[in-house]
């Protein structure tokens, strides 16, 4: 294998996948794709289905997931006569694909002459997929049919001809038909970009050389992944955490992982995890595997995204658990489960390599959906607000404030833009003081905001992490947990399931208040330099009580008035307090 060709071909394939990402991001109608990059594109091996390259603009959650979808699909398509030029397949069935019904995948073969050369896939999040709750996050769903329409693996295009009847079926069953039709057209155009790039590469190197490169790239990535795993001390690392409840029954739900490292190989075993829940807090096996790769990629960022990376890791995901959902289990709350799994991996590996792993991040995507008819336009709107929150601290630094979920790069919509588009208004939007876990390095703070309806609308919220706060590592403390408060009929109230509420009506002037968790702390807070605690107090990141109890510093307030209060730490008294035994 010529090393120059290999390096250049790898770069070129990554570039083609990037171009596919960018094309959809610029052309999509839904803000969730164009604003928050909720999409992914990949090129896959024609016989094994392994990932060859994946775009670097799409979301991490789709890392592994598309490979497993393509692998499932290869079997099904073979039974139906195999791939033919001009065919495009579509599906959103989570048990074959992954995540939730809103994530629609389309897949197309790429032929060189009459030979299948590669498979291309595009995943995009549709703003609405029908079902009981606008936007699709139904916190009380008991089966998948309440969450939206299911698209089994079918042909969207056959021999280059669009199945227009299928598109009409979609648009008739979703709340935002214009957007969905526009997004589907944009996704189909992406393959033109991919084909152009692949054809140019074939013209330059020829099929035989490229096939050798594809095989070699996978082998090299495997070698790279093995080299990282070999640096983790051998051993078995177990970690358990709990979901607050499943959206139906108010009982906590355990999820357990055991990560076993032996030399260059890793085994990830979810034995001990609860059975599939009655509510929507479940996810398919593909999504569970993807969550593990997201966690590993955050720990080892230079691992490439291709099939070889997946080879040295073995999984045990017992059947019929909430991590291996099967029909007709609801999966609309999968983001809560996925956040939990990412943190579990951090919690387990922190025992082996604490210097490389962050403490728990805020852990809940807590999606809030507001929908109704805008009085100005007379049109239906669906607004989706995912939780921002704090990241866990690391050996190197404090945690980030107002971070995005690790499986995502999704932004929070502009407040001014939201008020233009939707019948709502923000009452406040601020850093949640004193919400990061204490530590030598402090967890990032969460965010608090309140959204008021300016016309009647319905709100659903699907969160978790009220009863179980994000944890600290290496002696660091936990963050403040989530809090959701409705303000209706002149009173404040917390939902029965704390962070889950389905289709609550808000009249004009009524509101929902949300406070997201911070991230966990790293290391003993009593080792944090007193000067840093003083700065945290003056900036309002830490409150005076926390400074005294958790950080063991002695402070006095030296000024207030119209300006913000200022504090000064008494260094000598702090040393004495920190030296005293803890009581």
């Amino acid at each position: 294998m010529n090393p120059v060709t290999l390096a250049v071909v790898r770069g070129s394939l990554e570039q083609i996948a990037d171009e596919m990402d960018l094309h959809l991001i610029h052309a999509a109608l839904s803000p969730i794709i164009s604003e928050t990059n909720d999409c992914a594109h990949g090129i896959f091996h024609p016989t094994t289905g392994e990932t060859i390259a994946q775009g670097r603009y799409g979301l991490p959650v789709f890392l592994a997931y598309m490979q497993f979808t393509v692998q499932n699909l290869l079997k099904i398509v073979a039974e139906q006569g195999g791939f033919r030029p001009g065919d495009v397949w579509i599906l959103n069935e989570p048990y074959i694909g992954g995540s939730h019904l809103q994530d629609v995948q389309i897949v197309a073969p790429h032929f060189v002459g009459d030979r299948l050369f590669a498979i291309m896939a595009s995943t995009g999040h549709w703003m609405d997929i029908g079902g009981n709750v606008p936007g699709g996050w139904a916190p009380r769903a008991r089966e998948i049919h309440q969450e939206g329409i299911i698209i089994p693996l079918v042909k969207l295009y056959e021999g280059g001809r669009l199945n227009a009847a299928l598109v009409r079926m979609f648009t008739a069953n979703v709340r935002l038909p214009e957007q969905i039709a526009g997004d589907l057209a944009a996704m189909s155009n992406v393959f033109t970009v991919g084909r152009r790039g692949l054809d140019a590469l074939v013209a330059r190197y020829g099929v035989a050389t490229l096939n050798d490169c594809l095989d070699e790239m996978i082998v090299r990535s495997e070698r790279q992944m093995r080299s990282h795993i070999s640096e983790i001390p051998d051993g078995s690392y177990r970690f358990t955490d709990w979901l607050d409840n499943d959206g139906i029954v108010d009982e906590k739900v355990p999820i357990s992982v055991t990560v076993t490292v032996a030399g260059e190989e890793m085994a990830i075993d979810f034995t001990g995890t609860a059975a599939a829940t009655r509510g929507p807090l479940n996810m398919s096996r593909n999504t569970t595997l993807s969550a593990c790769y997201v966690a590993l990629k955050h720990i080892f960022p230079d691992v490439p995204v291709n099939g070889g990376t997946f080879r040295p890791v073995r999984f045990t995901v017992p059947d019929r658990t909430l991590l291996s959902a099967e029909y007709p289990t609801a999966v609309g709350g999968y983001l809560e489960v996925l956040g939990q799994v990412i943190n579990l991996l951090f919690g387990a590996l922190a025992q082996a390599i604490p210097d490389r792993v962050p403490a728990a991040f805020f852990g809940t995507t807590g999606v809030t959906t507001m929908s109704g008819v805008h009085p100005r336009t007379g049109k239906y709107f669906v607004a989706v607000f995912p939780y921002p929150g704090g990241y866990g601290a690391t050996r190197a630094t404090d945690g980030l404030v107002h971070a995005t979920s690790p499986q995502s790069m999704a932004n929070f919509m502009s407040i001014e833009m939201s008020e233009h588009r939707f019948a709502l208004r923000f009452a406040h939007f601020r850093l949640r003081e004193d919400s990061g876990g204490a530590g030598l390095h402090r967890g990032g703070c969460g965010t608090e905001y309140a959204i008021e309806a300016t016309a009647e609308c319905i709100v659903s919220v699907l969160g978790d992490r009220v009863d179980h706060a994000p944890f600290g590592i290496a002696g660091g403390g936990p963050a403040r947990p989530s809090r959701v408060v409705f303000h209706t009929g002149g009173r404040d109230w917390v939902p029965e399931l704390r962070s889950k509420q389905e289709k609550q009506v808000l009249r004009a002037g009524e509101s929902i208040g949300l406070a997201s968790p911070g991230g966990g702390g790293f290391g003993d807070p009593r080792l944090r330099p007193p000067g840093d605690v003083e700065r945290d107090l003056n900036l309002g990141y830490v409150g005076p009580d926390t400074a005294a109890t958790e950080y063991g510093v002695v402070v006095e307030q030296v000024s207030a008035g119209r300006l913000h209060p200022r504090y000064r730490v008494d260094e000598a008294a702090t040393r004495a307090r920190r030296a005293a035994p803890r009581g």
């Binding site: 250049v8 164009s34 090299r220 980030l400 407040i415 309002g540 990141y541 300006l563």
Partner: protein, 674 residues
């Protein structure tokens, strides 16, 4: 008649370009920059050039003062006043993280949380007042802040772009409390929605304004002491210049002054050489800057992230940077695949060849091993010349890990770094539906002309142009730019709901504002021109498309123009979905008559000169290659590759299957032979 002088103050060097006055020849030189007071280096360059104040009609200046103040956080102590409930908009940003993978990294906002204050007031998205401004509370706050060490105050209220009344009133109250404060209202800096981006832009302005105003005053004074009393114009990031007297108010507009000047010069030089579509390729020691010029107009970006969570939403020439330069380090990743950059050896330790302690092989080392760089090049400043043996050793060591010989390894390093640069060029041209055959690649910077030949082959660009003075292109760009001011206004309404008169009124107001700004600046402009554009999108889309429009167009005409542009960009239209007008924009330029010739017109040469030397250069195999001095190549000369052209600030590589001609402006034009 006195001439024009362009001076670009960079981090390391201050470059001067004097256009000449018909009697005195042009002057091109570099002196070391003086970061403690950049005007020292600027005056030193004028003295070094032997220029008297009377020789200069106008001084045009590019500066890194704003960029450096942001990077090093050396700006003013700034306070921020916001709508009650929204103090943290600046710190929170839009829910993100610094890198896609890895949850590390922190954010330090330009205004810390204890200098951010709230005041009761609120508008809705139409600009209607929901809560009146609490003037008494603001007055109390101003009084309390007055005794501190705050130098500037930024006011940023929600929906102020729709109705700036509260911001203007707050500004007056603050100014009355302390006339010494520099006060910036978000709506004065940007009349567009997106509260974080607007607040961040206003904060960048407030943070820089005191420093930049001081610099402008001090530079004006020192030039006055030197005896120069004529106009001084400063290069802005949008590719136009603004007068020194207005610089404080334009502080946020000069953060990419130097790169913008380079692109402006490249565009102008290419246009004079007969190319209207240009890709500019500036390759230095650590980075590769690329920009696209269509029909003579550099592409402009609306938003640039200056740092993590520090967006600047002002029009800036869209310069894309990747970590690929002469100092980029070549290595093998854990999978055994060759990688080049983005890690760079920088200036210290630098490439192995520079004898400053570098041990990792770099792109420069590969070029040296292949004979493309003269080992006795003066670039290192070391009398011993470049360390060819050291470079060969480092490259051979890397080659051993790949199973390649030293020359093959060096070629591989170039192939990989060229592929990365070509990929970025392709993303900006081919993938945007532009045919590379219509472009010329203008290569500059120390390493640009060395790699340009490979890039035009890789991307399929028609030709490479190397200007006469590729090392001082930014200084030349200053001397060539027009005076330019940009205006925008968010509309955010379906075009079908808008009247033609409304659109015309907004554009006319923007034009009037620009003309007034030009008059205030008293800068010499021969002609004033205004161009208009509109950002439009299908209802629901986030990413709007910029479409040139004309004053007096009806909403229907604008809709048609949008559909046409959308189809060209994305291959289809979404008929049936209403088109929304997001922003209207106007650019007012004061065009200068006295633009200097890009390079002196030379007389045609009789035939190719004799090479200054021959050297073995590796292009697949070793070729005995003629080496020419740039100064020996007169207009009209034509040569076949392989050839190497050497000049003090760069080396141009002509590959074996390429042809070179020198045009009548003394530019090198390199094309694939047939």
């Amino acid at each position: 008649m006195p001439g024009l002088v362009g001076i670009d103050v960079g981090g390391t060097f201050t470059d001067l370009f004097y256009a000449g006055d018909g009697v005195r020849p042009p002057v091109v030189l570099k002196v070391p920059s003086t970061p403690h007071d950049p005007s020292d280096g600027l005056l030193a360059s004028l003295r070094e050039a032997g220029l008297d104040p009377g020789d200069i009609a106008m001084l045009l200046h590019g500066t890194t003062i704003a960029t450096n103040a942001l990077i090093e956080r050396r700006g003013a102590r700034t306070a921020l006043v916001t709508t009650a409930g929204f103090r943290d908009v600046l710190e929170l940003g839009r829910r993100d993280r610094p890198h896609m993978y890895g949850l590390t990294g922190v954010h330090v906002p330009l205004v810390p949380r204890d200098l951010r204050y709230e005041v009761r007031e609120r508008m809705d998205y139409t600009g209607a007042v929901l809560v009146e401004l609490d003037e008494a509370a603001l007055h109390d706050l101003a009084t309390a802040l007055r005794d501190g060490d705050v130098e500037s105050v930024v006011v940023s209220f929600l929906h102020a772009y729709a109705n700036p009344a509260h911001e203007m009133r707050a500004k007056a109250i603050l100014a009355a409390a302390n006339p010494a404060w520099e006060i910036v209202a978000s709506s004065e800096v940007l009349r567009e929605y997106y509260e974080f981006e607007r607040t961040s832009t206003a904060v960048v302005q407030g943070y820089l304004q005191p420093l930049v105003s001081r610099y402008a005053r001090s530079l004006g004074r020192r030039l006055g002491e030197w005896g120069f009393a004529r106009d001084v114009l400063i290069m802005q990031s949008n590719g136009g210049v603004a007068p020194l007297s207005r610089l404080g108010a334009r502080a946020a507009h000069i953060v990419r002054s130097g790169p913008a000047a380079g692109v402006t010069a490249a565009a102008r030089i290419a246009a004079e050489a007969g190319f209207s579509h240009v890709i500019t390729a500036d390759m230095g020691g650590t980075s590769f800057d690329v920009a696209v010029v269509i029909a003579g107009q550099p592409k402009v970006a609306d938003l640039t992230n200056l740092d993590f969570r520090m967006p600047l939403r002002l029009p800036m020439i869209d310069v894309h940077t990747i970590g690929a330069g002469g100092g980029s380090i070549a290595g093998v990743d854990r999978g055994g695949i060759l990688q080049v950059g983005p890690r760079s050896a920088g200036a210290v330790p630098g490439p192995v060849a520079y004898r400053r302690g570098g041990s990792d092989p770099t792109v420069t080392d590969a070029n040296l091993v292949l004979g493309r760089i003269n080992p006795r090049s003066p670039m290192t400043g070391s009398d011993a010349g470049l360390d060819l043996e050291g470079a060969q050793h480092a490259v051979a060591e890397l080659g051993a890990r790949l199973g390649l010989g030293p020359e093959a390894t060096a070629e591989a390093i170039l192939a990989v770094v060229n592929q990365r640069m070509a990929g970025r060029i392709r993303l900006l041209s081919v993938e945007r539906g532009l045919d590379p055959q219509a472009f010329v690649l203008v290569a500059f910077g120390g390493a640009g002309p060395m790699h340009g030949a490979a890039l035009i082959r890789e991307v399929g660009v028609r030709a490479m142009l190397v200007p006469r003075f590729p090392g001082v292109l930014c200084a030349m760009g200053c001397a060539m730019a027009d005076i330019r001011f940009d205006f925008s206004q968010t509309v955010e309404k379906p075009l079908a709901e808008l009247a033609a008169e409304t659109l015309a009124a907004i554009l006319a107001a923007q034009r009037r504002e620009g003309e007034a700004e030009l008059r205030r600046s008293e800068a010499p402009a021969a002609r004033i021109a205004a161009t208009h554009s509109a950002d439009m999108a299908y209802a629901g889309q986030i990413h709007a498309l910029r479409v040139p429009v004309e004053a007096g167009w009806t909403p229907a005409r604008m809709t048609a123009a949008f559909n046409e542009t959308y189809c060209a960009e994305f291959g289809n239209t979404l008929e049936g979905i209403p088109v929304v007008l997001v922003n209207l924009r106007t650019t007012v330029t004061g065009q200068r008559d006295a633009a200097p010739p890009a390079a002196p017109a030379a007389t045609a040469a009789s035939g190719p000169p004799a090479p200054a030397a021959h050297r073995r250069v590796h292009f697949g195999t070793w070729h005995r290659t003629p080496i020419y001095r740039r100064s020996d190549l007169a207009a009209g000369v034509a040569l076949h590759g392989p050839a190497i052209i050497e000049q003090a600030d760069t080396t141009t590589v002509i590959e074996p299957d390429m042809v070179l001609r020198v045009d009548r402006h003394d530019n090198l034009i390199v094309e694939l032979g047939r």
